[in-house]
């Protein structure tokens, strides 16, 4: 049975909370619901940003997602640079 949006959201939050690195690529969330198209997963992840559950972390050329409590601040972020 297909996962509900709420279940996918919970899976994404769990993934972002437990991944070894705080920043994740959008592709890292695809497996949270393999039955959904990547563009649907992207929409759910971006919705979580507006809810404050995730935040964007940008290197300038690539944008990643992170749990806000896992990123300290702009200067102290454990970046990928």
């Amino acid at each position: 049975m297909a996962m509900s949006v709420e279940e996918v959201e919970a899976a994404i939050i769990e993934k972002a909370s437990k991944a070894p690195k705080p920043q994740l690529y959008i592709k890292d969330f695809y497996k949270c619901d393999p039955d959904r198209k990547p563009r649907e997963i992207k929409k759910i992840a971006n919705k979580l940003v507006t809810k404050g559950e995730l935040m964007f972390w940008s290197s300038g050329s690539t944008t990643m997602y992170a749990r806000p409590d896992r990123i300290k601040d702009e200067e102290g972020s454990e970046g990928i640079n």
């Binding site: 959008i26 964007f56 972390w57 690539t62």
Partner: protein
């Protein structure tokens, strides 16, 4: 009064060219943080390493692009550039601005930023260089509410679409580049402002093969105007060029005497497919051999024009040389009609077919063109539901193996061995 000694940078003011060092010093008179740009750059020259850190969590609420965080890694020495973020402002189609609007933009940037700009960045955006984190929302509010302009794309987003000035000033434009650029910018607002892909994705729209926005070299999805039927010839005007009465190339090389116009030397022998010749004083073109390169039309604009059945060629997968070297886009669709009547539905279908595939198979930080290269053009064409044609072939194959698909083999993989052995004894 200079805040830092910059002997190496000062050398860059001595040549005959305009100098960014002089510009920065002038700007520092009203924006003292610009002294710290010079100081930090001088230090980078000494250390032979950049002192900028980039990336981080800067942005405006609801957007995941349009701002690139920049920080100094020596803020105690150069506090003026401790934060020095870049804002990318989406340019209007064809980059038309009124001077009033430009002045308002510069006033805004003088108020909240360093006043330094890059007009325009390579994707086309107006780049505003240098502001602090606390100013970002303030700039964004005034930009969107007072100046009716928006941020562009950055990161793994759809980057700000860009186009040539198209039909607004150019008789060669084979479709309305500005309209499609605006329409797709509005259609894909979510993809521009929030990350969507494994890496960046760029659209560029050129009205003809002169490709004034260099779409073929810089965009993942290049829409380049072309035509299907014959080049329109005005034989009387051809004679005027040959008689020297009309200047070649619209007079753009007139500052030097190149001698009398020679149609053989300047047009016929430079045609890449040699599809043109003279019969008496009549110019003949074998249009079936013409590659629509625009050279002859550029040289004799009053005599030759693109055909009447206009549309575009779609080339996919260009990129700059970060990973695997620079790559031109590959021609995938030789001709497609571009019509605003159907809201560019056929173009949108193509774009979304690519996205659905690339989002699935593209590796992190892998451009669409790199993913195409990895799987091979034949596979990519099959994903796009495009029948291969000779023009897709870049060079004769060097691999002798042909990997047939089951549906391409009569009878598929299952065959009646007894039937087979009747024709081929063991």
């Amino acid at each position: 009064m200079a805040k830092h000694d910059t002997p190496m940078l000062d050398e860059l003011e001595k040549g005959p060219w305009p100098s960014f060092v002089t510009d920065l010093k002038r700007q520092a008179e009203t924006h003292p943080e610009c002294w710290d740009i010079l100081g930090q750059l001088e230090l980078s020259y000494e250390d032979k390493i950049t002192h900028w850190k980039h990336g981080g969590i800067v942005g405006v609420f609801g957007y995941g692009g349009g701002i690139v965080g920049r920080y100094s890694d020596v803020p105690e020495r150069f506090p003026g550039v401790e934060h020095f973020h870049t804002m990318r402002v989406a340019q209007p189609s064809g980059m038309y601005y009124s001077t009033k609007h430009l002045r308002a933009m510069m006033d805004l940037w003088d108020k909240y930023g360093s006043g330094m700009t890059n007009m325009h960045g390579s994707t086309g955006d107006m780049i505003l260089l240098g502001t602090k984190t606390e100013n970002l929302e303030l700039v964004f509010w005034e930009l969107t509410h007072d100046l009716n302009q928006d941020l562009g794309g950055s990161g793994s987003n759809l980057r700000t679409p860009s186009c040539c000035l198209g039909e607004s000033r150019c008789e060669w434009s084979c479709y309305d580049t500005q309209d499609i650029c605006y329409a797709l910018t509005m259609h894909y607002q979510d993809e521009i402002h929030r990350p969507a892909f494994p890496y960046k994705f760029k659209f560029k729209f050129s009205g003809c093969a002169n490709d004034c926005v260099a779409a073929i070299a810089r965009s993942d999805f290049a829409v380049i105007g072309t035509w299907k039927d014959d080049i329109q010839i005005d034989q009387a005007a051809v004679k005027e060029y040959m008689a020297g009465n009309f200047p070649a190339n619209g007079g753009s090389h007139k500052d030097r005497d190149w001698g009398p116009f020679n149609i053989n030397k300047e047009v016929l022998n430079l045609c890449p497919t040699r599809c043109m010749w003279m019969e008496g004083d009549e110019l003949k073109i074998d249009d079936s051999e013409c590659t629509r390169c625009m050279h002859c039309i550029n040289v004799m604009p009053r005599a030759l024009k693109p055909g009447k059945e206009k549309g575009a060629t779609i080339c996919i997968g260009a990129k700059a040389p970060i990973l695997d070297g620079a790559q031109f886009a590959t021609m995938v669709i030789p001709f497609i009609e571009i019509s605003k009547e159907n809201d560019y539905e056929n173009i949108i279908d193509l774009i979304e077919t690519i996205w659905d595939w690339w989002m699935e198979v593209g590796k992190n930080r892998e451009r669409c063109g790199e993913a195409m290269q990895r799987i091979g053009l034949a596979n990519f064409l099959s994903i796009m539901n495009v029948e291969p044609i000779p023009q897709h072939v870049r060079e004769p194959r060097s691999n002798p193996y042909i990997f047939w698909k089951e549906e391409e083999v009569p009878g598929g993989w299952e065959r009646d061995i007894i039937e087979f052995r009747k024709r081929h004894a063991a």
